[in-house]
């Protein structure tokens, strides 16, 4: 089905021997055929074959990809023990020139093969050394969306504090600084590379923050937002000082942060498919690098909002989830 594009690769000789019209017609045929071939080229989706409940995340992303890219999608659910060589052979046989790799397992299964363009989703971050040539939509929400939500929920907000590990989130902070400026916010970012450093930076935050105009952002960062010891202390101090916290992790909303943005998986799937289709249409290899998540939903903790004295009654309809539900 994809062979015509190659078999018609040398028709330009007809233009020399035949009339101009024939050449033009042939040229049109060539372009249309090539375009059709491009349009029908399969998009391979490689995603982890894991158990519930995590499986449902990838199923929803794949549902979004299929919504956007239609029947050309060829799916491969890979186990951690899958035979990568066999997968590659299969992808070549399908003549897949774009592969959407989901999750670390999906990425690992396809990454070594750079003969295909690769779009990645369902991962938090990819090391900068590996990101070249890839288009990656992170699971980390776009800071500009986080900040605009903060302004909507807490109009008095002027400054945002964040403690991050540059090894995980340097790329995100570059975006965050721009985003804050655009929203009229000041981003005060502290670096920390271990738990002790993180705790010290949070102490600095609490010593300087003014709860009326400041807020604290918890990025997806295993070092500075460590769940066992750092997070409880940050939550407790923030509650005691009535300092608003917002997060890039959905689970933190039930723990007591004001709000979090989290992936809208079906929409994320559509965006990934859009990137893949763009690569096919343009014919280049993509390579957009790390991109933050823009397909998001919002979860809000109303208990915390009330503690902070925020009146969200009129905005409640716009929230995707609230904790605890009234």
């Amino acid at each position: 089905m994809h062979c015509p594009m190659f078999s018609l690769a040398t028709p330009s000789s007809h233009a020399e021997s035949g009339g101009r019209l024939v050449a033009v017609l042939l040229g049109i045929v060539l372009l249309v055929t090539a375009a059709l071939a491009q349009a029908e080229a399969p998009i391979a989706v490689v995603y982890p074959d894991i158990g519930e409940p995590y499986r449902a995340i990838f199923e929803k992303i794949v549902e979004g990809i299929e919504d956007r890219a239609g029947p050309r999608v060829v799916k491969y659910a890979v186990k951690s023990s899958a035979d990568i060589a066999e997968l590659k052979t299969d992808l070549r046989r399908q003549d897949a020139r774009v592969v959407i790799a989901l999750g670390r397992q999906g990425m690992k299964a396809v990454a070594p093969d750079r003969s295909m363009a690769m779009v990645v989703g369902g991962v938090s971050t990819v090391p900068e050394s590996e990101v070249r040539g890839l288009s990656v939509i992170s699971l980390s929400p776009d800071p500009s969306l986080l900040f605009s939500r903060l302004k909507a929920l807490m109009p008095a907000a002027k400054r945002v504090f964040v403690v991050y590990d540059p090894r995980n989130n340097a790329w995100l902070m570059r975006l965050a600084k721009e985003a804050a400026r655009a929203q009229g916010l000041e981003l005060v970012a502290y670096e920390a590379q271990d738990l002790r450093g993180a705790m010290q930076q949070y102490q600095t935050v609490f010593a300087t923050a003014d709860s009326r105009t400041d807020a604290l952002w918890l990025p997806q960062d295993t070092t500075t937002v460590e769940e066992g010891s750092v997070l409880p202390l940050v939550l407790q101090e923030s509650w005691n000082r009535s300092l608003a916290i917002f997060s890039s992790s959905f689970g933190h909303v039930r723990r007591g942060v004001l709000f979090a943005l989290y992936p809208d998986n079906v929409e994320l799937g559509k965006s990934l498919a859009g990137l893949a289709l763009g690569i096919l249409a343009s014919g280049n290899h993509g390579g957009g690098g790390m991109m933050p998540l823009r397909d998001v939903r919002i979860a809000v903790n109303l208990r915390t909002a009330q503690h902070l004295g925020l009146d969200l009654r009129r905005q409640q309809r716009g929230f995707d989830l609230v904790f605890p539900e009234p």
Binding site: R255, G309, L321
Partner: protein
């Protein structure tokens, strides 16, 4: 030997797990950064919606919980709720939902709702005698509220409220077929579909099932040791055939639901007269429908809901009270009471959030409970003898529906109105105050308040102080029974009441550890009982008081990404104020523990342990105390086998414990009511 098998299985699973999980950890770690732990993933991925926080001490059980524990019956699910123990009545082994020590034979003190609508029969004030519950695979979640709830729910929200929510189109999401088979020739098959059709969200469910029921032996019954023939020792009679169908249509602000539920050949348990009745059977049919309209933005800040609902109940019992050979009764003492009821309800409710610091709820409604027809055929009449009554033969089975029925048709109308306000009166402090008035056409009115003071003590601690008052209206049996000298009605009754004070704490001790503690005290007054008259007959009276106190502790610990441990302990002590002794039959201690182990991707092993202890006899019961028991259940489940198949294997009562529920005083069934021995079941589901 049992233990050896368990060890061997555990060892094999551990080996398999070690190999299979190596690659999954990284993946989950990444996802956990965005979503949080497993329970958040199911919510965030849209598979499960978070549930409404009940305004009391509540437990929510989800469809995932029900699947995980391998439950095939709603009562197996309810036994896991802290402070709730499912005891059994000798009559059909009907469940007695014993909440916080309140245990009665017909159990009308618990309000059972399906999708928020009562399934109460006017005759006993409880579920009808042949109901059988909602099939578990059609349940989206069960919400259980302990303590009085009459200020919102009205009648019978007395010791607790159980609300069963059935699956909507979104919950089912596709077409699923399933079969389940197991011990006692139990077999069930079902199909359910959720999708959209012509602009409607459509959920449809159909189930057909049957069982012979467990056949544990009753060693002696009411006739053992008498000159009359007894069928004991003999098995309990717990077979039944079941058909369930449900349809749920939703469009914009409208929802129409309809249900059909049929139970046929329902076994008589240990016999209605505490004498084994292997031939007796019951037929029950429930036809229900409701139409709901909700506009969350009727006008600004006002959410309005209107609902009309209809429930029709048919109940036909064909009973052999005493077996063939009873003097004068070559075919046995036969009684066949039939009854038909219809219930029509209209409700209007609203929530207003337009006032700063206040959330208002108010509503009103009316209902008609109509037991519109009774029929009775029997071959005996009870005649007085010294100290009691004795069946005298009528010669043949005769229709006494017009001449001397157990009850004539009766109807009552109830109207109600309520208002409730949640007032945020200071930072982190909330006061909820509510009151509801119910006006009955037969006995008059009753007013029931509630107060709840909530303090958001810390970011991870909520403290509540709750007060509530509840009522249970006299049932038609208690008001209007006739021609049955052992249970005569009394039209001059008033409701029994329950007042309760609770202190509750919810503490998120760590990201992986949630702990809840509830302390309660209650006092029942004007308890409705059948009290013996000088002529040995019994008449319903407001007689007696009971008080109790206790606590419940709940823990949920996500020990690792693949292991979740949870459990609860409930302790209560209830006293009958007339005797100063234990009010009897309810366990003073109840422990439940559960482990969910995801030992390989897609595989889960669930273990649960249930310990029921320290149930005291009634003062008039001279039998030795009923032994404690504990049971262990195992469920192994594989999800997404060959993509679209799920299967589960369950063993209940793994160690074949001799578990028994108390028979009532004075112990006409001396050896109590034996529960099922070890049983197994296999379940297969396919997503089309």
């Amino acid at each position: 030997m049992n233990r050896a098998i368990v060890r061997a299985v555990a060892a094999a699973l551990a080996v398999a797990w070690a190999g299979a999980c190596a690659g999954q950890g990284d993946e989950e770690e990444d996802l956990a950064l965005a979503y949080g732990d497993k329970s958040f993933v199911t919510i965030a991925s849209g598979v499960r919606q978070p549930v409404a926080r009940a305004p009391s001490v509540a437990t929510v059980i989800t469809a995932e919980d029900i699947e995980a524990i391998g439950a095939a019956d709603q009562d197996e699910v309810l036994e896991t709720v802290p402070g709730l123990h499912v005891a059994r009545s000798g009559v059909g082994y009907n469940p007695i939902y014993t909440i916080r020590g309140i245990h009665t034979q017909y159990n009308p003190q618990v309000l059972m709702l399906v999708n928020g609508i009562p399934v109460t029969s006017a005759f006993t004030g409880a579920r009808s005698q042949v109901w059988g519950g909602v099939p578990v695979e059609n349940i989206a979640r069960i919400e259980v509220i302990r303590g009085p709830g009459s200020a919102l729910y009205g009648a019978d929200a007395f010791s607790g409220v159980i609300n069963i929510i059935t699956k909507t189109a979104a919950d089912i999401n596709g077409t699923q077929i399933g079969v389940r088979a197991g011990s006692f020739k139990s077999r069930d098959a079902w199909v359910q579909h959720g999708g959209t059709w012509g602009g409607f969200d459509v959920a449809a469910y159909l189930r057909v099932g049957a069982t012979d029921g467990q056949r544990q032996i009753i060693a002696a019954d009411a006739l053992s040791g008498t000159p009359f023939p007894s069928l004991a020792p003999g098995p309990v009679n717990l077979g039944r055939d079941a058909i369930d169908a449900r349809l749920d249509l939703a469009h914009d602000k409208w929802r129409l639901r309809a249900g059909y539920q049929q139970r046929d050949n329902g076994g008589t348990g240990a016999g209605v007269a505490s004498a084994l009745d292997p031939k007796g059977h019951g037929y029950g049919e429930h036809i229900s429908t409701d139409l709901t309209w909700q506009d969350a933005n009727f006008v600004r800040d006002l959410d309005v809901t209107a609902q009309a609902s209809y429930l029709h109940i048919t109940e036909q019992s064909d009973l052999t009270l005493y077996p063939p050979g009873f003097p004068g009764f070559p075919d046995g003492v036969i009684g066949n009471p039939y009854k038909w009821e219809r219930h029509l309800r209209f409700n209007l409710s609203a929530a207003y959030s337009g006032l700063q610091s206040h959330k208002l709820r108010f509503g009103a409604g009316t209902q008609n409970d109509d037991l519109y027809r009774t029929k009775e055929t029997k071959n005996y009449a009870l005649v007085p003898i010294p100290g009691g009554f004795f069946p005298a033969p009528l010669g043949a089975v005769v229709d006494v529906s017009d001449s001397a029925p157990f009850l004539r048709p009766h109807s009552r109308t109830v109207s109600h109105a309520y208002v409730q306000d949640e007032w945020a009166f200071a930072q982190d402090w909330y006061l909820t105050a509510g009151v509801r008035r119910d006006q009955y056409s037969d006995f008059g009115g009753t007013t029931n308040p509630r107060l709840a003071l909530v303090w958001e003590t810390a970011y991870n601690l909520t403290s509540k102080l709750l007060y509530g008052r509840a009522f249970r209206p006299p049932s038609f049996a208690e008001l209007y029974n006739i021609n049955n000298p052992v249970a005569l009605g009394n039209p001059n009754l008033k409701p029994e009441t329950n007042e309760s004070v609770e202190l509750a704490f919810a503490w998120q001790a760590a990201s992986t550890l949630q702990a809840n503690l509830n302390l309660f005290r209650y006092r029942m007054k004007d308890i409705l009982r059948f009290v013996q008259n000088p002529d040995a007959s019994f008449t319903a009276q407001n007689a007696g008081r009971q008080n109790g106190q206790g606590l419940e502790v709940e823990l949920v610990w996500e020990a690792s990404r693949s292991l979740r441990l949870s459990g609860n302990y409930a302790q209560q002590r209830s006293i009958d104020e007339a005797t100063g002794l234990d009010s009897s039959n309810a366990p003073r201690h109840h422990v439940y523990a559960r482990a969910d182990w995801r030992f390989m991707p897609g595989w889960t092993l669930n273990t649960q342990v249930n310990h029921v202890a320290d149930r005291r006899r009634e003062p008039s019961d001279t039998r030795p105390a009923i032994p404690d028991y504990h049971t262990v259940d195992l469920t192994l489940r594989k999800q997404k086998w060959k993509d679209d198949w799920d299967f589960a294997f369950t063993v209940r009562n793994l160690f074949d414990a001799d578990a028994r529920e108390p028979s009532p005083a004075p112990g006409l069934i001396p050896g109590d009511l034996p529960l099922a021995p070890r049983e197994w079941r296999f379940e297969l589901r396919h997503q089309l």
